[in-house]
């Protein structure tokens, strides 16, 4: 690019110099012709004037003709005399024009070169912005580059790449959606099939009991059947709770006090967890107390399940930052599996076996924080445990 510009500039410069030289050479030749600088020219013309007069004296019959020639010659002589007398002024003017012409051409070339450079810089900045957008994941980038030079070709390639990336993202999203649905279906089927199987067995036992007339066995079987039905009901409740998640009703609350209450109330809710709190005093925010508590319960549930049989600790800290309040919830468990980090907050995403959870907890928690105007993020998912950050405005 730089080489091309330099070559263009050089070509223009050489062309300008050639043009100036051409004009100089031609005009100098013309000027010399017109000036008749050589004294012999004037001498010869003056001799011709004398000749016309002599001819008229010798041949008076043609005096008018000679007089006419004389007048014409006289005019030429006078013009040459005037030019000769103005020679210095003429040359000064000539030099001024040539220098001005050359200066004008140099300015034109410089201007053209500068405009071209500025245009290329602007286009390169556009390419840089487009690459930044591409790196940031923007789709369908349009640069509007119409020229087919190197920059234009790069621009076209960026546009094509962004289109391909957009298409691939749509495919991936569709596949992820399909996978999520498959997972959800599998989990739903399992959750429904287990109590149905149990119900089927209980009903068979009930039928057998009826035949044998075993009252006690009948009562136990009926109770078990009811439990399975209730289990189905709880499943349906959980399943619909995600879809019918209500909007928060925020009230001004002291978050330090709210967290102290939570730690105190749930201190023994998880057998393998010890809750700790590090909260500044009197940090108030508009929150729905029950919903925030639900988020904390979900996070602690996850920590407890991740620890399994091991003992662990969940540390909750509260701090004010510029633009809001942060609540960090950090455990010392095994952390979040690498394979699901990027999709952790999507529904039905979990590492647990089917039947051990629906994978809706984090999705619900994220939705609650977003409804509060805040966010829920995974901070640290290394082997030292998982850390989530709740941000509130």
């Amino acid at each position: 690019m730089k080489l091309t510009s330099t070559v263009v500039a050089l070509v223009l410069m050489v062309a300008s110099a050639a043009l100036v030289f051409h004009l100089f050479q031609r005009q100098l030749a013309t000027a010399s012709l017109a000036f008749g600088f050589h004294p012999d020219v004037l001498d010869q013309l003056e001799l011709s004037l004398d000749d016309q007069k002599r001819l008229a004296w010798v041949d008076p019959a043609r005096e008018l003709e000679y007089r006419s020639r004389f007048d014409s010659l006289e005019s030429t002589v006078h013009r040459l005399q005037i030019l000769d007398g103005s020679r210095d002024a003429l040359l000064r003017r000539y030099n001024t024009i040539v220098v001005a012409l050359f200066a004008g051409l140099v300015v034109l070339v410089t201007l053209t070169y500068s405009i071209r450079q500025a245009s290329q810089a602007r286009r390169l900045a556009g390419i840089q912005r487009a690459l930044t957008m591409l790196a940031g994941g923007s789709n369908n980038i349009e640069l509007g580059e119409r020229k087919r030079d190197t920059i234009g070709r790069i621009g076209a390639m960026i546009e094509e790449t962004s289109r391909l990336m957009a298409r691939d993202r749509r495919r991936i999203a569709a596949m992820q959606n399909l996978t999520a649905w498959q997972e959800a279906t599998r989990r739903h089927a399992h959750e429904i099939r287990m109590p149905l199987t149990a119900l089927k067995l209980e009903l068979a036992q009930l039928r057998d009991g009826l035949d044998a007339g075993q009252q006690a066995e009948l009562t136990r079987t009926a109770r078990d059947a009811m439990e399975e039905v209730e289990r189905l009901g709880r499943f349906a409740e959980r399943f619909t709770s995600f879809a019918r998640l209500p909007q928060p009703r925020p009230e001004r609350r002291d978050l330090g006090e709210l967290l102290r209450d939570f730690v105190s109330t749930y201190a023994s809710a998880w057998a393998n967890l010890e809750l700790e709190l590090d909260a500044e005093a009197a940090l108030e925010a508009d929150v729905d107390r029950e919903m925030l508590r639900q988020v904390l319960v979900n996070l602690c549930d996850n920590s407890s399940l991740a620890l399994g049989e091991a003992q662990g600790r969940v540390r909750i800290s509260l701090q004010r930052v510029q633009g809001g309040i942060q609540i960090d919830v950090k455990d010392d468990g095994p952390g979040v599996d690498e394979s699901i980090r990027s999709r952790l907050f999507e529904p039905y995403v979990t590492t647990r076996s089917v039947g051990e959870g629906m994978g809706l907890g984090l999705a619900i928690s994220k939705k609650i924080l977003l409804d509060h105007g805040g966010d829920l993020e995974l901070l640290d998912s290394s082997g030292n445990g998982a850390a989530f950050r709740l941000t509130l405005p």
Partner: protein
């Protein structure tokens, strides 16, 4: 060698003598100032050949003196001398501040010198000059050709540039492609406008004004 030195000395003395000669201003009927006693400029080594060229040589006199109403009172006169190369006579024209134009035909250089020596030019209106003013400034420029000759040469030059460019034999056949021709004509015109009348010789004198009777 001695002869050359002697001639140079004589020439130097002549020039010095001429330089010391100055015209004078006289009153003409209490209404005008008249410039007379012009130095013998016609025999000047620059002017004499100029007068023989056949071009119209113009002597422009500009006179200024303190004005009666403040500022300056200005006047002047103009003399045009043209040598007719065919008839070998001088045509002279005198234009004074009164607006009067006088034309004469002089048959020889001697007659021209005689005419010059006897010249009395009305150059300034005495009524417009401050009564107490006792000096006037007189400027003389000799222009080597007339305005019409200047214009004619400018036109001829700018035309000859284009003609010589496309047809060196000067017959004036135009090129079918007019762009280059137009550009050269513009170029020629730009150069041609530098052909202007510039004084060939200039003199400045500060002259005594004759005493006038002050009105009661």
């Amino acid at each position: 060698m001695r002869r050359v030195a002697g001639m140079a000395l004589l020439l130097g003395l002549a020039v010095a003598a001429m330089a010391q000669e100055v015209p004078r201003l006289e009153l003409h009927g209490d209404r005008h100032f008249v410039l007379s006693g012009l130095p013998p400029l016609l025999s000047d080594e620059t002017i004499e050949p100029q007068l023989r060229t056949g071009l119209t040589s113009t002597f422009v006199f500009r006179v200024s003196a303190p004005g009666a109403r403040g500022g300056k009172s200005r006047g002047g006169a103009r003399l045009e001398i043209r040598y007719d190369l065919w008839d070998e006579v001088f045509h002279v024209t005198k234009l004074e501040i009164t607006g009067e134009v006088a034309r004469q035909r002089l048959d020889s250089a001697e007659a021209l010198v005689e005419w010059w020596d006897g010249l009395r030019l009305i150059v300034l209106d005495a009524q417009t000059v401050r009564a107490t003013a006792n000096q006037a400034r007189v400027e003389l420029d000799l222009l080597p050709f007339s305005r019409s000759e200047e214009l004619d040469t400018q036109r001829w030059y700018s035309e000859s540039v284009g003609r010589a460019e496309h047809n060196p034999d000067g017959k004036g056949v135009r090129s079918p492609s007019g762009d280059s021709n137009s550009m050269e004509q513009v170029f020629g015109l730009l150069i041609a406008t530098s052909i202007r009348r510039r004084p060939l010789v200039s003199h400045v004198w500060t002259l005594e004004l004759p005493a006038r009777e002050t009105s009661p």
